[in-house]
């Protein structure tokens, strides 16, 4: 296999996480009726950024290990 699927996974979730966190910072707490007043976007965004970065890190370590 020429490319490691961890890279797109990590990148996709990091980008999505950044978009969510940005949206959360920009428009403030959720206004959806079921989660009004909660920082849904910021929390989910941060979790996605952490997940995405860990996956990217693992991919990098694995590839260094190989070469």
């Amino acid at each position: 296999m020429s490319f490691d699927i961890r890279n797109p996974i990590g990148l996709l979730f990091t980008i999505t996480g950044v978009l969510l966190t940005g949206e959360g910072l920009w428009s403030g707490v959720s206004r959806a009726p079921g989660s009004a007043g909660l920082q849904v976007n910021i929390w989910c965004g941060i979790i996605m950024i952490i997940f995405g970065s860990v996956v990217l890190l693992v991919a990098r370590l694995r590839n260094q290990h190989k070469t």
Partner: protein
Amino acid sequence: MNLAPVDWLIMLTYFVFVIAVGVALKRQMQSSSAYLQSNRSIPAWIAGLAFVSANLGAQEVIGMAASGAKYGMATSHFYWIGAIPAMVFLAVFMMPFYYGSRARSVPEYLKLRFDEKTRAFNAVSFAVMTVFSSGISMYAMGLLLNLLLGWDISAAMWLCAAIVLAYILLGGLTSAIYNEVLQFFLIVFGFAPLVYLGLRDIGGWSGLQLALEKVALAQGYQAGAWSNTWQYMGSTAQNPMGVEWFGLAMGLGFVLSFGYWCTDFLIVQRAMAANSMSAARRAPLIAAFPKMLFPFLVILPGMIAVALTQTAGHHGFALPAKPDGSLNYDLTVPMMLKYYFPQGMLGVGLTALMASFMSGMAGNLTAFNTVWTYDIYQAYVRRDASDKHLLWVGRMATLVGVLLAMAAAYLARSFNNIMDVLQLVFAFINAPLLATFLLGMFWKRTTGHGAFSGLVAGTVAAAVHHGMTLPIHAAVGVKGGWLASTHLYSSEMAQNFWTAIYSFSACFACTVLVSLATRAPDERQLSGLVYSLTPRLRDSSVWYLRPGTLGVIILLATAVFNIVFW
């Protein structure tokens, strides 16, 4: 549902990644085996996540939430006895033959083990089924997007079909598998917050149980009927599914579940693409771990939704009602997304939903193009085709497959009844398959004539049983009773389970009898295909990574879940 620019951006990012994966894989697609079998080079964990994700289509996500609302916790039977044991069995006992025989598809295994006619029967019916089921799923997606976002149904279907076509044309099976892994994480990240917010809303697990007692009492059942799995399975009248433990365990837990997980090429293809025998055997086991936990991701939202609807006054979440006054359970997931997610996460949730529709279609397509190329084209149209030509045929089959699926989607749109009848016919054809594979793999005396006549007998038995029975309150016709009405089942589900049991038994008996009456197969040709004629595998990995050990751990954990939620 109002989307903000950020939602569109999230959706767009995902689609760009999907296509990019296809583009990045394009250069590797130099041979038919690269395109249709990923060169058998996929690591175990990727094959495993793709294995579980290929089954996690939108019908699964939306359907299981709907069942969670309709039947409560008992829906998890579709996971804890309706999937896990079969996945373990496939990994430990069946993968050695699928992978070790070097068959390129499940129908090809039937050719190697039995004969040409058994393969042809399986390959043709499978190819037709994949086309129709991806068409039906596309249409369902068009309807949903139309309802939620006001998109034109046709435009939504063509857009998603075009994206799927692009990444499969470019990157073949590997592209489908990689994208299934992406989709797996997307669904987890999109739905876990939904479950969290829902549980928070209803007052945690204890709040949910209290509310579900009201749901059960309101519908005339005992208080625990929505929050237990086995306790009310003693008789069909005690639980909303209308099934009893024996029909459930034999019909769902054995025949339907093993038949699907162990013989459906769409699923097995993911494990067959693994990079070694040990990876191929571990793929279904790796898949079993998340599968075990999925009830909390896909069934729980339905249970929360119906509980909230029960307790809602004039405010709070409530499921929408259909024109006839009953609740529209199929809208559970979209309505919850709308109610709980602000713009931003709403985009993630919708993307996850669309991704699961698309990967469902991709799964069908990659299975279809492989069966078409190897089991129909190479077997019956041009035996001496060069590999380059087969690669071209595989790509064309992908294109034609999408077009046929779209035709099926339009057919579903215009003639709902035709689709119901077709799905019924497919169910009859699938019902006996398990008996054929079990006998083929574990009884060396089984012959090709036996297998073929068994399949026919099983299909006929399924049709006759369906034609002579009827679920209670159903009209004669596509629901059954079209031959005579000799027995009333308490629910459609009970009828399905028993159709499967009768079909399996008929196929089993007929295969055994005809096999004994026909000439025994040559044992020298069955090595690697039949259990007793294949040298035992020695898995060289450390003991705790061996399929047997993992299988036992998984089964024990599943047993614990069954007991905790008894």
